[in-house]
Symmetry: C2
């Protein structure tokens, strides 16, 4: 029996997560679902964007599905984005973000890449201070352990995908120690897995340009936290944009699926929210965390069939409901 | 009488810089040119990638044109990329990188944007250390002074361009102190220039995606060092790629024009190097540093005429020479 901790969060998170849960339940009839809270609304009620009970529920279940959270428009003391807290507190050290061309939707065919983003450190360690009133300093941390951990995941995935290429993206020409440690830590593990012949490197500026010019040449991209943040948003264009972009925050024996889009307060409650990114994120749980390849293929196939027949679904006020009906009919 | 310090550097730098110099000489008959050296070849001969004499020549002239430099394939003790040394030693605090659609060349028309990249700090301050054998830390510095300086330049340029919009790009949701100081420092200066109504903000990940999806909506982009590095390479796609991308490193009373491309050792000496990025960079000296708008318009017009008639020039072994002939014929 598998357990899932569901954290809808704010805005359209409340609308898209239930759809993804019903899709998962169709594929895993004995799935046991627990609901937990997080986000801005939660912060306003409880003074915490991620209550301890939510962390505990995630640990108990070992798998979760996050919706989206809103942020206050100006900084609020004590408030930190819930997803950052979840990644850190649950040691979700890798963020997996696939991008593929969808039939009838993407302006380029043949894109099928996977960005593995380091998810715990870099400039995200939260170590910033004012050195003087006029100088702010942020620290960027890169550890051997985290670099080896992401490369370990990359090796497993490379075998699963039968990868043709693994591209390490960094900026070691300007940051020889931090990016150098990342690169060398990754190379060591990839070498140990006999994958050295597939490994390629690219500077982050060049990688950004190549992701625009020839995305179909990339396969598995392994990079640091902030570079992964930027490159995955950029690359999501080839998969139909942020509205369709899925992700999986992945630790040791625990994973949290998360659509990359935000809480979209402008359309929340209108019925227009497209649940496909949440559904595809649930598919990543199936494929990578639970390793239920057959069910994952089934879910991806249903999404592909839906997109092939309708293009990017927008049925106005009926989008959420219609996408759900169409998907369930195809499973 | 205007003076120009010419630093061809390595590889195709030696081929494209002379073309840009002859174009400038045609427009400014009394231009006085001094040659100086920098780069990897220079480092191998003199043990320094930027000799003091080169810095002095730049200070004497107040304006320079840099070609490109090679880097050793593995790290060499004491070697640092010449362009980083030049930017830092000459206090070239802003890097200006325009991107525009060229007729018959770009896949999208209507792109006409200018990226202003902070050029002296951020992760480029060179403050990295190993905290332990397994943890590397890099510092990212943001000062009020540098942030206000770039906004000052942005204000001047916004008036020159009759800008519709100024977009501040940062990641203040994750880096509230450093990116927050950058944003607030910029806003203060832009406000003082009466430009607040034009100012917009975007997170760097979203900006990267929007630069792919709808580049024609951007006008003047103001951002920190590394974000500017990544976004300008990405955006160069809309201007015909890196091979056509110009830039200007700009300080107080001193400026160094620089094509963004590298030294291209694979085509060096073959006559195939396209000098247009170097020529367009020289055009930025005319327009922004010397404020010779008429000559700058004339140069841009010649490039536009050339591209309109031929598309992206590649005449095989004749490229460098033919582009020069065509340009001089149009001036
Ligand atoms: C919301 C924000 C903190 C987050 C990030 O920067 O990681 C988001 O952009 C993402 O990519 O998941
Ligand atoms: C060569 C490298 C150090 C440089 C940079 O990172 O600034 C280059 O990418 C650029 O954009 O001018």
């Amino acid at each position: 029996m598998r357990r899932l901790c569901v954290i809808p969060g704010d805005g359209i998170g409340q609308e898209v997560v239930p759809v993804a849960v019903r899709v998962l339940e169709r594929l895993l009839p004995d799935l046991q679902v627990t609901e937990a809270e997080a986000g801005w609304d939660c912060f306003q009620r409880l003074g915490q964007s991620v209550p301890e009970a939510t962390l505990q529920a995630m640990r108990d279940c070992g798998a979760g599905l996050f919706g989206a959270v809103s942020s206050p428009s100006t900084a609020v003391a004590g408030y930190r984005s819930a997803i950052l807290t979840l990644r850190q507190q649950l040691a979700l050290g890798v963020n997996l973000r696939p991008v593929r061309s969808w039939p009838g939707l993407s302006d380029k065919s043949g894109v099928d890449l996977l960005i593995l983003r380091e998810n715990s450190e870099g400039l995200y360690v939260g170590k910033e201070h004012m050195a003087t009133a006029d100088l702010a300093i942020a620290e960027c941390h890169v550890s051997r352990q985290a670099s080896e951990h992401i490369a370990q995941r990359a090796s497993e995935i490379a075998k699963l995908r039968a990868s043709r290429r693994i591209t390490l993206v960094h900026k070691a020409n300007v940051l020889p120690l931090t990016c150098g440690l990342f690169r060398d830590g990754c190379r060591k593990v990839l070498d140990a897995h006999g994958l050295s012949a597939l490994v390629d490197e690219r500077l982050v500026d060049v990688a950004a340009l190549h992701l625009v010019e020839r995305p179909e040449e990339f396969d598995l991209i392994v990079t640091t936290n902030l570079f992964g943040d930027v490159l995955s948003d950029l690359a999501s264009h080839w998969g139909g944009g942020l509205g369709l972009a899925p992700s999986l925050n992945w630790g040791q024996g625990i994973a949290l699926a998360e659509p990359v889009h935000g809480s979209a307060p402008d359309i929340a409650g209108s019925g227009r929210a497209n649940p496909l990114a949440a559904v595809l994120s649930a598919g990543l749980l199936l494929r990578y965390h639970w390793q239920l390849i057959e069910q994952a293929d089934c879910l991806d196939g249903a999404v592909e069939g839906l997109l092939r027949s309708m293009g990017k679904a927008d049925w106005g006020k009926q989008t959420t409901r219609r996408v759900e009906q169409e998907l369930l009919a195809r499973l």
